[in-house]
Amino acid sequence: MNYKLFFNPFERYQERFLLRLGLVALCVGSGLAYLFNARFDGVLDLHFVPNIELWHPFLDNLINIACLMICLGALSLLTNKRTRIVDVLAVSLIARIPYYPFSLFNVNDFMVNISEEILKDPTAIMSGGIAIPQLLILLVFSGLSLLAIVWQLVLLYKGIKVASNGKGVMFTLLFVLAIIASEILSKLLINY
């Protein structure tokens, strides 16, 4: 198995395949988020809520993808005027995939309930107020979600590099700024 494809499918696959995969994943991911009360309220965010409408996760994801497209598209065009927007869209869609499975952690509102317990008594984790299995699941969730963020950032970075042929320290710095800008923009739009 070629593990490189997990981190950089953009070198190998044509944009049509990537767009289809990204759109299917968006629909499945948003559907799962609706079933398990998850909100993608930012480019780098995932939160669980007690109640949710069907359109919420779809709109969240569309805003996140649009924000990534605007910020990374600007960076790509600044780097290389011949960058195709369809490649930036494919990168924005594919890079969301690592987030989608995390909705499954909220089966039976598990994450909502545990969050409420911790919010009620923040010392519960230290004082043993939370059962060990729950604590373990929380730790696994935290660890995996950190890995998902890293995976998403690697996909975005590699993808934009391929789309725009970006190189050098300046490109990397501008990429970091574009990600921060997209996170702020998405937060503002989703909370509006």
């Binding site: 953009f10 070198e11 190998r12 696959y13 044509q14 944009e15 011949r82 960058t83 195709r84 490649d87 391929v162 789309a163 042929n165």
Partner: protein, 91 residues
Amino acid sequence: MKKLPVHCPSCSETLKVSQLSCENCETLISGSYDLPVMMNLPREDQQFILDFVLSGGSLKKMATQLKKSYPTVRNMLDEVIEKLNLIKNEL
């Protein structure tokens, strides 16, 4: 196929063509000729240019042939162009 040396192994200067021969009548031509710009590229880049021309200059066809995405092939072409420009400026 033997690899054509383009740089002097002793001082790294770009080599010139000083002799050409006809294998049929054994005529020898001596002189000092510059190597074509393309000959200064690595062999894989020369092959890329050849494939590009044979595919009618279509990056999409090249992408299918090389099993790579369109932007990857376009980036490869950009790098070959960059190298050619560097070589042209050096000559």
